[in-house]
Point group: C2
Chain length 340, copies 2
């Protein structure tokens, strides 16, 4: 397959490479006749500019790197969906990588993306991220970075998040308002900020309503999995603890719990109310349908890529950029797993 290059077009027309290049790029200083000849021939030969050469010259790849914990995940796949879609409209392509919640992998992937000279990077941090130096390195390299959902406040970059504490507060409040008094929490791992914030929101809601906070009603889901939800529900049920509600870190955990209670013939929400977090599609179709906190994945992805492209543009123009933190609203979706 003989590649069509500017050189071959120029030589076929007996003009210089310079002129051929200008004709195709709508430079004003080319005669209409020459321009037409070049454009026609380019079309006829199906000329495609060599993007490698363009990248090398312009120092732009028109590619954005994206790292998320996992893609087989309702929330994150929605985020990715929005990012790919919006970026494409603006002429950017997305390279996606999954950290699998491994900080080591995440570091390698950051390295990969920097080596690839992507024009910008979007990350939702893995749960195990403690050492922030690899993230700082991105900023130091001059590559625009936007963190979303699972972020660190210590990084000097733009961020898109929800207010996990307020959202968890609202979820717990809903349980309290519907008459629950002994509310358990299936929390996430101890390290990630959003897991901490959801726990704090839960605790605060109890305190504000003068309900007793009972440490023994808090279970930690290391993997935030269906199985953990199932098993903790079982453990809770088989213990003698008095409990009339559960606030789960995520819908998947909540659904694990629902599955157990359905099997054990514990009535939801009569015997126990359950509320999840994220409002996955699944929440609306299981029985009973699951009350949840709507976490706008699509919106979050869109805001994040929008912000990133804006910063890339600003930097290109040599403008100073001011980092922003966008906080998206959430709201409690009431369904059948909690009382009226």
């Amino acid at each position: 397959m003989e590649q069509v290059t500017l050189k071959s077009i120029a030589s076929e027309l007996g003009i210089s490479i310079t002129t051929a290049s200008k004709a195709l790029k709508n430079y004003p200083d080319v005669s209409p006749k020459t321009r037409k000849a070049v454009i026609d021939l380019a079309r006829k030969l199906n000329y495609i500019p060599n993007s490698f050469a363009v990248n090398l010259r312009t120092k732009e790849s028109k590619v954005i790197g994206l790292i998320i914990p996992e893609i087989v995940h309702y929330f994150f796949s929605n985020v990715v969906n929005a990012i790919i879609e919006y970026a494409e409209k603006k002429g950017y392509l997305i390279i996606t990588l999954q950290s699998n919640e491994s900080d080591k992998l995440e570091e390698k992937q950051i390295e990969l993306l920097l080596n690839k000279r992507v024009d910008g990077i979007l990350i939702s941090l893995s749960n195990n991220r403690k050492d922030l130096s690899p993230i700082h390195k991105i900023v130091e390299s001059g590559t625009p970075l936007v963190l979303f959902d699972k972020i660190s406040k210590l990084i000097n970059c733009s961020k898109v998040i929800i207010n996990d504490r307020d959202a968890a507060y609202a979820a717990t409040e809903h349980l309290i308002n519907t008459g629950c008094k002994d509310i358990a929490h299936f929390r996430g791992p101890l390290n990630p900020q959003n897991s901490i914030d959801r726990f704090l929101g839960y605790k605060k809601a109890l305190e504000d309503s003068k309900l007793h906070f009972d440490k023994s009603l808090v279970y930690t889901c290391e993997k935030v999995s269906f199985e953990e939800g199932y098993n903790f529900a079982k453990e809770l049920h088989q213990s003698n603890k008095k409990v009339d509600a559960i606030f789960a870190i995520t819908d998947l955990v909540a659904i694990g719990a629902i599955t157990y209670f359905n099997e054990a013939n514990v009535k939801i929400p009569e015997d126990i109310s359950i509320i999840g977090f994220s409002n996955w599609f699944m929440a609306s179709v299981i029985s009973p349908s699951l009350s949840s906190v709507d976490q706008p994945g699509y919106e979050m992805g869109k805001k994040a890529i929008k912000l990133l492209l804006k910063e890339i543009k600003a930097i290109k123009k040599g403008k100073k950029i001011k980092h922003k933190t966008i906080v998206l609203p959430t709201n409690v979706i009431k369904r059948s797993s909690t009382r009226d």
Copy 2:
């Protein structure tokens, strides 16, 4: 941010760019002393080879393009997961695009990927793909291509698929074996091959069991959505048709039907059996749990990328490649939505 280049390393050490390059690339004809000096300095300065220049020289991008109908989709997100993971291990990155089942968008995306000079392309075709010329164009461009799941037999490339006809046959047979006689089918759109094949498998199973095939029991889901499953179930229920089972094109459609029947107090599987297709995670957690055909998304993604990378390698070595079609096994997962 002053970029560290071979040039800057060479000049700092007072050697030529050539030698610096060779030292870093483990060419044998460099003295150990020089090699060490170069490597040490490169590490100290945190040298990253400019991938744009490398791409231009090697004519390789080490990037693979992937087009799927949508990413917020259990099956496809599993495919993407496998592809990203395997590619990364082999030194390739993945650019993902979504056609949203639009053939026009799909064509633009193919164009984008070819312009980007990706080293290979993976596609699961959109339902509306009738004109195959954009796909042929990929093959003609010399870019290795592997089609998976939603393919066209008319394209001269490797493919990874399941046998949709046999799988649908097995699903329908399961309904028949458990005593169902009047089996409806919520089929997919008329164009895509896998939707046709599933319909044919369903029909063949009826015929082989001497059951009457009733055209009026076949409903076409244009969008393969939850709503269609729900609405067709309602339509079916409110008609006077005699029906004791439904084979749905996909779990999402099946779950729509289940949701309707649950609301309408129609007992599953006593009054009506339901079997889906794809074995989404959701199938195991709804009530009743949904029998389904396991469609191995992860395996399919892995085989597809593996095949593609193999062909890329072969072409690089100037070897002739023989296209393969891999057919992955499926099996019926029996759960509570069908009888024992």
